[in-house]
């Protein structure tokens, strides 16, 4: 925001309060109420306003208080923002930040991971950083991208994951995966908070060498990195916190089957949440969200196959 006067922030309680998760704490003090705007309680208005502003040359950064609420903005995102460039050649450089994910008993309206829904929409990009360093590099890429970018911030990562972040300005490219852990026997393809679930499972397996690919961005996704790793290990496990049917893991599994069939030594395995809304009950939510044990089971199964 210091570099580019076109960038502004808008969302519910992002100004005085600093955002529900304090991501924009102190922003209004530095940049003032005209660049850090407390919006009405209307996701429709936020995204619609951002779309108009972007078409007029601004670089808006909107915050949905919870990713779940983005359904109210579906029409403007999908019908207008995603298609404007194809339809009229006008770039729509908006970034929509989406605190997403479960694991803290948020229930069905405050815990979802809707990235798959938007990855299906041509014209939208979906970014899901897992590390603090990536979060910084990717938010810069998102803001500078001429197209609408949905920036999924897993709520569980806000306070749980700490990491070194370079002071200087840098850009992490959209569409490039990161090898979180190198291994030989099985590839886990995942993103967001599930990177750490996979890592914990991999650590617990002494006799299986697990490679973890952090996609970083779900759309566009780094299929070359995934296929290269699968060609090495010949076994793939796709892990995501979103529900199973039509989840983005299905797209990855299908691509592996199409492009790397002759390299497979086992069926591609998916570990996902079941096809239900996110439960309130901590016990049920634990059963819903893939746990380390679930990933371990999948890895053991693939290893023994």
């Amino acid at each position: 925001m210091r570099r580019d006067k076109r960038v502004f922030v808008i969302g519910e309680d992002v100004g005085v309060y600093g955002g529900a998760f304090k991501v924009t704490l102190g922003f209004q003090e530095e940049f003032g109420p005209w660049r850090v705007i407390d919006s009405p309680l209307s996701e429709t208005a936020i995204v619609a306003g951002c779309t108009g502003a972007a078409i007029m040359g601004m670089r808006p950064v909107a915050e949905m208080q919870f990713a779940d609420f983005i359904s109210c903005a579906w029409d403007h995102l999908v019908t207008v923002a995603a298609k404007q460039r194809y339809r009229a050649g006008t770039p729509v450089p908006i970034t929509v930040r989406l605190p997403s994910g479960g694991g803290f008993s948020g229930g069905p309206f405050h815990s979802q991971n809707p990235e798959s829904s938007f990855a299906h929409i041509p014209g939208l990009k979906c970014v899901c950083p897992a590390t603090p360093e990536d979060a910084k590099g990717l938010i810069v890429s998102a803001i500078e991208d001429p197209n609408p970018v949905l920036f999924f911030e897993h709520k569980h990562l806000y306070r749980r994951i700490k990491g070194e972040v370079p002071d200087e300005r840098y850009v992490t490219p959209i569409g490039k995966a990161r090898t979180h852990r190198e291994g030989e026997d099985v590839t886990v393809i995942t993103w967001g908070a599930m990177v750490y679930t996979a890592e914990e499972a991999a650590k617990q397996l002494d006799d299986v060498s697990v490679e973890i690919i952090d996609l970083r961005t779900v759309l566009p996704w780094d299929r070359e990195a995934v296929l290269e790793s699968v060609q090495k290990t010949s076994k793939a496990l796709v892990l995501h916190e979103d529900t199973r049917t039509g989840g983005f893991g299905a797209e990855i599994a299908a691509t592996i089957a199409e492009e790397a069939f002759e390299h497979l030594d086992a069926p591609v395995k998916r570990v996902t949440a079941p096809d239900t809304p996110v439960p309130f009950s901590p016990v049920l939510e634990k059963a819903f969200i893939p746990q380390v044990e679930d990933v371990l089971a999948g890895l053991r199964e693939l290893s023994a196959y």
Binding site: E262, H263, D265, A297, A304
Partner: protein
């Protein structure tokens, strides 16, 4: 009759519901002479184990199906060539239907030839024909049982895409590799290790060593997947002090049938005590006559069977069946007898058909014949099907009570137990109570309570006891 041309031996049609059989043993080796009707091999189906006689005389020229393999009815198993003939190339034409019929007829002939020589050992004073458990047969075809083609498991046969590609690129014969994957599957690691150790020459190096080194030692087996996590059971592995042996077709059949029966019928068992003193007396009288005139023993089992058939006439539901939501009753009785096999590792339930037409002698002969052929593995599958009621005799070993399992889809099974002398309260000729030494036998009726209620079962047992206690010699 000497064979003039080469004759194919085919897997015989062992009954209408049997579609395949497993070769358990070849009794002749290739090159050995064989006479017509001489036992050539043993086969096992899910109904029975039996011998297959040679369809012709000559030399066993070629064995086409090895021991342990399971093939469909009509499959060529071997070729019998005329003695002294050169070995012609084996025909690969499918076997025409008549050959199958011929083989089945041969099997029939061989089996029926045995029936005229009943064995005395089956007719001991204490009936020992039958065993504790029940039956492997039903009139319906059992669900197909997956039979591994050999002891190595089916996993051997699945080749993953990457293994197929590597095998093709390096011209590797996967049979040379011992797999460490699920079910013995050859994994990518297995084949890469195999290639790295130089066991297989790459396709472009014709000067590869002529003698390939032995297959490398298989990798140390990986720990089995945690039970709760594996969606399919891991192959069984013997722990220290344990011995693993494969189930044969009969054991699988018994296991399936026992479980299915308990899952189907509402088993209830009622018991009654029968004073067999009168039978003992009649039997002692008939014994010599039967033995001398017919070469058969009138066993207790035969008496009980005779009285049971007579009682079943008055209790058609006990001789009946639930079929869908209908009740089947019959004008005939096909009586099954549980027979323990010699090695104690199985039992079979041959069925004596239309027992209502047989007197005591006919039943005694029929049971002796079936029991002997059951032990000799000479039963035909159709002889273990179609029962309407079953008798089992665990009493041969002295037990006095049991709860047998019903042979599906029947409605009941009668258990007979040891005849023992007991102090018994009877009335003397003056009508006074006295204690006498009597020969007492317990009978149990295990019935399907879905069809047969307790009172009906009680009346059946009461009437059966009445017949056994009061019938005269001419009634049997």
């Amino acid at each position: 009759m000497a064979t003039e041309a080469a004759v194919d031996v085919v897997m015989p049609q062992m009954g209408v519901s049997v579609s395949e059989g497993t070769i358990t043993k070849w009794l002749k080796q290739e090159g050995q002479p064989i006479a017509a009707d001489e036992p050539l091999l043993e086969i096992s189906t899910d109904k029975v184990d039996t011998e297959v006689p040679s369809p012709g005389e000559g030399v066993l020229q070629q064995i086409l199906v090895q021991e342990g393999e399971t093939v469909e009815v009509g499959t060529r198993l071997a070729v019998i060539a005329p003695e002294g003939s050169e070995a012609p190339p084996a025909s690969t034409d499918p076997v025409p239907e008549p050959a199958t019929a011929q083989a089945a007829a041969e099997a029939n002939a061989a089996a029926s030839g045995e029936s005229t020589t009943p064995s005395a050992e089956t007719t001991d004073a204490t009936p020992t024909e039958t065993a504790t458990a029940e039956t492997t047969d039903t009139t319906e075809a059992p669900p197909p049982v997956a039979v591994p083609s050999d002891g190595q498991g089916d996993g051997k046969t699945f080749v993953s895409p990457v293994v197929a590609r590597i095998a093709a690129e390096h011209s590797v014969d996967l049979k040379q590799i011992s797999g460490t994957g699920r079910g013995g599957r050859v994994t990518k690691k297995d084949i890469l290790t195999f290639i790295e150790t130089g066991a297989a020459p790459p396709p472009d190096s014709p000067e590869a060593p002529a003698e390939a080194p032995a297959a490398p030692a298989p990798e140390a087996p990986k720990p089995p997947p945690a039970p709760a996590l594996a969606p399919t059971p891991a192959p069984a592995a013997a722990q220290v002090g344990e011995v693993l042996e494969p189930m044969n077709a009969m054991r699988r059949g018994i296991a399936e049938h026992m479980r299915r029966s308990l899952d189907t019928s509402a088993h209830v068992t009622s018991a009654i005590e029968v004073d067999m003193s009168r039978i003992v007396s009649i039997r002692n009288k008939l014994k010599q006559e039967y033995q001398a005139a017919y070469g058969v023993n009138p066993t207790y089992l035969a008496f009980v069977a005779r009285a049971t058939v007579e009682t079943l006439k008055e209790y058609p539901w006990v001789n009946g069946e639930i079929r869908g939501d209908q009740i089947v009753t019959r004008s005939y009785v096909n009586l099954g007898f549980a027979v323990e096999l010699a090695d104690g590792k199985g039992l079979i339930v041959p069925v004596l058909k239309n027992v209502e037409t047989l007197n005591l002698l006919g039943i005694a002969k029929g049971v002796a014949d079936l029991a002997q052929r059951a032990r000799d593995k000479k039963l035909l599958p159709d002889e273990v099907q179609g029962g309407t009621f079953t008798i089992t005799n665990p009493g041969g070993y002295g037990t006095f009570h049991g709860t047998p399992v019903i042979s599906q889809p029947q409605a009941g099974i009668l258990g007979t137990y040891a005849v023992v002398k007991r102090p018994w309260v009877i009335q003397d000729e003056l009508g006074d109570d006295v204690i006498a030494i009597r020969s007492i036998m317990n009978l149990t009726l295990t019935y399907d309570h879905r069809l047969v209620d307790g009172a009906l079962a009680g009346r059946f047992l009461r009437d059966l006891r009445e017949k056994l206690q009061t019938w005269g010699e001419s009634d049997y």
